[in-house]
């Protein structure tokens, strides 16, 4: 089963990359008020259903995939 893990900077943590990309877009005439840049991780796991897969993937996320000091994550079914 393919599971996606979306890792984004925590809202209150400065996203240096997002800030720069947003300002470059604005300078080129695009209207963007905020930009956040993170990672997207796709995992293929052995599981009967999404619930089971989510439990496994959550463990992996807590183990290594995200840094709780600066990031949040969401698990999605693909």
């Amino acid at each position: 089963m393919k599971i996606g893990v979306k890792v984004l900077p925590r809202k209150e943590v400065l996203d240096t990359q997002g800030r720069t990309v947003q300002s470059s877009l604005s300078e080129n005439g695009f209207s963007v008020s905020n930009c956040t840049i993170g990672k997207y991780i796709v995992l293929d796991v052995n599981a009967k259903n999404f619930e089971e897969a989510k439990t496994q993937v959550t463990k992996m996320a807590e183990f290594v995939l995200y840094n709780p000091l600066i990031e949040n994550y969401e698990v999605e079914q693909l």
């Binding site: 943590v13 400065l14 996203d15 240096t16 800030r19 840094n67 000091l69 600066i70």
Partner: protein, 732 residues
């Protein structure tokens, strides 16, 4: 006066939140002649913290030898400044970022580099070199390998992007740093002819207070209280927000700030470091003895939910505060906008000397900054006079280590984390950006060329923690003598010193004794070398659950040489004669385990500072006048290790060792101090050494691809070099 933020917290809860004790609270009440109100407690808490007020160290830091004919600034500003003549001035400083780096190694180390760079360019100096002094715990300790990786990654990520070369570094390991690593960052900047210093003293009633750089976020608010929280807590969301460094923003800030300083548009400038807006504005006001009005709701915010108190305490990175005449604001804003940054007026200079804080047109606080800055507590923490002789030697052991096979022992050292190459670390640093680097991190000193006069500036970091573990007088003396020696034998005259004093709790008299001994000893050595202490930083409370780090007074010594051409190399070359020059003060040493984990074998003697300092200055003359091709200071692991490190393409055939080396073990002992010189014209060097009455011994001549030490060692270089170069990856 309206009190906006009154909560139901009891006094005790407040003490805990603001890390204040009853005695200090009473002091505040005495100064204010009432109880602190509103944001005042937060202001006191920030400015009276050890970090901002130096309350435990101030009385001792005054003892530093800090003035000579070169010194322009050595106290009261962000960084010290010395005049090099020929229109060139330099500013340099070293600062710790230990605790943040233990929590989030990448960002902690990165923001450490960012902070020290701001201290330098705030003075109007363009940063041209950086260096890092790092102490890690035992490599098998929990998280240690990832701490090493994170810290090095953070320094690399930040420093490379900002474009300031890292030219030297120091990395050591010891279990006392297992739960409290040391990350000390050094930076040096230059002012060329016609470029003026910028200072932080606010003045001129009616002048504007302008905020530039990044917007304010929740970063690092109450960062200090982070230490007392357990990291097992589930409440990740409640933790203070990690400060994120943006080297790209810092680069823009460097260029734009230097531009406004060069155009003489600012009256005063100060970076927002620890305790953010509070410390920068209060210090500017207090130094200038003028009042400031600040409208906190005009501070650009990244997070609209921030309260006035949050805004005052936020430690968001890459922000500066400046004071300018109103007519110059437009030009200042043009320059910052050109560099993609904003400059926002948030207040003005007032008559009188009070700071007035406003929130949505309402005055929330009016206070005399001197109460917080000048009247901060100063503690005479109890300490003992250092006991001379063996009682001062905490970890002196007389255990005679045994070497069975010289080659085996040498290889063991070269493949251990204590003796192997740090190339894994420094190859991640840009060591040459700026195109002025004459000696990089692979050398015993870092050298950059001054663009204007083409002279060379050398840098060497000091403090070898194993000597501090032996005795604080010896360790502290060495933390100045050793880097001075490293510079002198390359022909660099020691000019001045910065220090970063990392200690455990000052409330522990034993620690305080080591602190006071260190300050006094460093000062004494600096005076002998006429190299004043021009800047520094104190980091106390480096301990976890009552177990202190090794007291570590790290130093950065800067020296100068007339040119960067023909600097003596660290490595032997063809057809050279090799000499060992010595001035024996103290013999230490032992096998790896003994030196770095347990007791240290050492003689029960003190170092004669005066004698050693004048010997170092003699060697400076020799290095400059005797066509020295190669020079190297002997250090930990003694002669055998030094010879192997100097032998890359060419080794040496030592047919006769001096009479003080009688055993295999003697080859690995450190006799403070000894240096290697290699020259093409031996007799000329011998004459020079004799004319100065210096003790020396001829070791032998260089030879391609081999290292021979009497009957003790006969080896090809390839194998030793392989061990030295490639062991890091196996260890980490």
């Amino acid at each position: 006066m309206a009190i906006k933020i009154e909560s139901d917290e009891t006094l005790l809860q407040k003490f805990k939140k603001y890390r204040i004790n009853q005695k200090e609270y009473d002091m505040m009440c005495g100064l204010l002649k009432r109880e602190p109100q509103g944001v005042e407690l937060a202001l006191f808490s920030a400015l009276w913290s050890e970090h901002c007020s130096y309350k435990s160290s101030k009385v001792h830091l005054r003892k530093f030898f800090n003035k000579n004919h070169r010194v322009l600034v050595s106290e009261g500003e962000n960084s010290g400044v010395i005049d090099l003549g020929e229109g060139e001035k330099i500013s340099f400083k070293m600062e710790s970022h230990n605790h943040p780096s233990f929590i989030e190694p990448y960002q902690g180390a990165a923001t450490g580099v960012g902070g020290i760079l701001r201290d330098i360019f705030t003075m109007g100096a363009r940063p041209v070199m950086t260096a890092n002094y790092l102490c890690f715990g035992d490599k098998e300790a929990p998280r240690m390998k990832s701490l090493v990786e994170g810290v090095v990654g953070g320094i690399s990520g930040y420093g490379n992007c900002v474009g300031v070369p890292a030219v030297t570094g120091f990395t050591e390991f010891h279990p006392s740093y297992n739960k409290n690593i040391l990350v000390n960052a050094f930076a040096l900047g230059v002012l060329y002819p016609g470029e003026e210093l910028a200072l932080s003293k606010a003045h001129g009633v009616g002048n504007l207070v302008v905020y530039v750089g990044a917007k304010t976020g929740r970063d690092g608010i109450h960062g200090a209280s982070m230490a007392s929280e357990s990291f097992d807590d589930k409440s990740a969301q409640n933790r203070p927000t990690v400060q994120i460094g943006d080297p790209f923003f810092e680069k823009l800030l460097i260029e734009s700030c230097l531009e406004v300083i060069r155009e003489d548009l600012v009256v005063a400038i100060q970076d927002m470091g620890a305790a953010g807006l509070t410390s920068s504005s209060f210090e500017m006001s207090s130094k200038g003895q003028v009042g400031l009005k600040m409208e906190l709701d005009k501070v650009p915010l990244r997070d609209s939910t921030l309260t006035p108190e949050d805004i005052l305490l936020s430690e968001s990175q890459e922000r500066m505060l400046l004071v300018c005449e109103p007519k110059k604001l437009k030009r200042i804003q043009e320059i910052f906008h050109r560099w993609g940054l904003d400059a926002t007026t948030i207040g003005e200079v007032l008559p009188g000397k009070n700071i007035q804080l406003f929130w949505q047109n309402e005055k929330i606080c009016e206070i005399d900054p001197d109460l917080l800055v000048e009247n901060a507590p100063k503690y005479e923490r109890p300490y003992n006079l250092r006991e001379a002789g063996s009682k001062g030697r905490k970890n002196r052991g007389s255990s005679n280590f045994e070497v069975f096979d010289v080659k085996e022992t040498l290889e063991e050292i070269l493949s251990s984390e204590y003796g192997t190459s740090r190339n894994w670390i420094f190859s991640q640093y840009d060591q040459r950006v700026g195109s002025q680097t004459a000696m990089d991190c692979s050398s015993s000193i870092g050298v950059t060329r001054l663009e204007h006069s083409k002279r060379g500036l050398g840098l060497s970091l000091g403090c070898r923690p194993y000597l501090m573990r032996l005795d604080s007088q010896i360790g502290a003396a060495d933390s100045v003598l050793y880097p001075a020696l490293n510079l002198a034998i390359k022909g660099f005259e020691p000019l001045a010193l910065t220090d970063c004093l990392n200690f455990a709790s000052p409330e522990n008299p034993e620690i305080m004794t080591e602190f006071v001994t260190s300050v006094e000893t460093i000062s004494e050595v600096c005076k002998e070398l006429n190299a004043p202490v021009i800047s520094g930083n104190v980091s106390f409370y480096n301990e976890t659950l009552g177990s202190p780090i090794t007291s570590t007074p790290a130093t950065g010594m800067v020296g100068m040489r007339a040119s960067v051409e023909n600097i003596p190399s660290d490595y032997f070359g063809e057809k050279q004669t090799v000499y060992l020059v010595c001035n024996h003060q103290l013999e230490t040493g032992g096998k790896i385990e003994e030196m770095f984990k347990n007791k240290i074998h050492a003689q029960d003697k003190d170092i004669n500072i005066k004698d050693t300092a004048s010997w170092i200055l003699d060697l400076l003359d020799i290095a400059n006048d005797s066509n020295v091709k190669m020079s190297k200071t002997l250090g930990k692991f003694g002669l055998a290790y030094a010879l192997s490190r100097a032998s890359t393409e060419f080794g040496v055939v030592c047919d006769k060792l001096p009479n003080f080396i009688k055993t295999k073990e003697d080859l690995f002992r450190e006799r403070m101090y000894e240096v290697l010189f290699a020259v093409e014209n031996g007799p000329k060097l011998e004459d020079a050494l004799r004319s100065k009455n210096l003790q020396f011994a001829k070791l032998g001549v260089t030879a391609k691809d081999k290292l021979i030490i009497e009957s003790y060692l006969n080896t090809q270089l390839a194998n030793l070099n392989e061990k030295y170069k490639n062991s890091w990856e196996n260890l980490f």
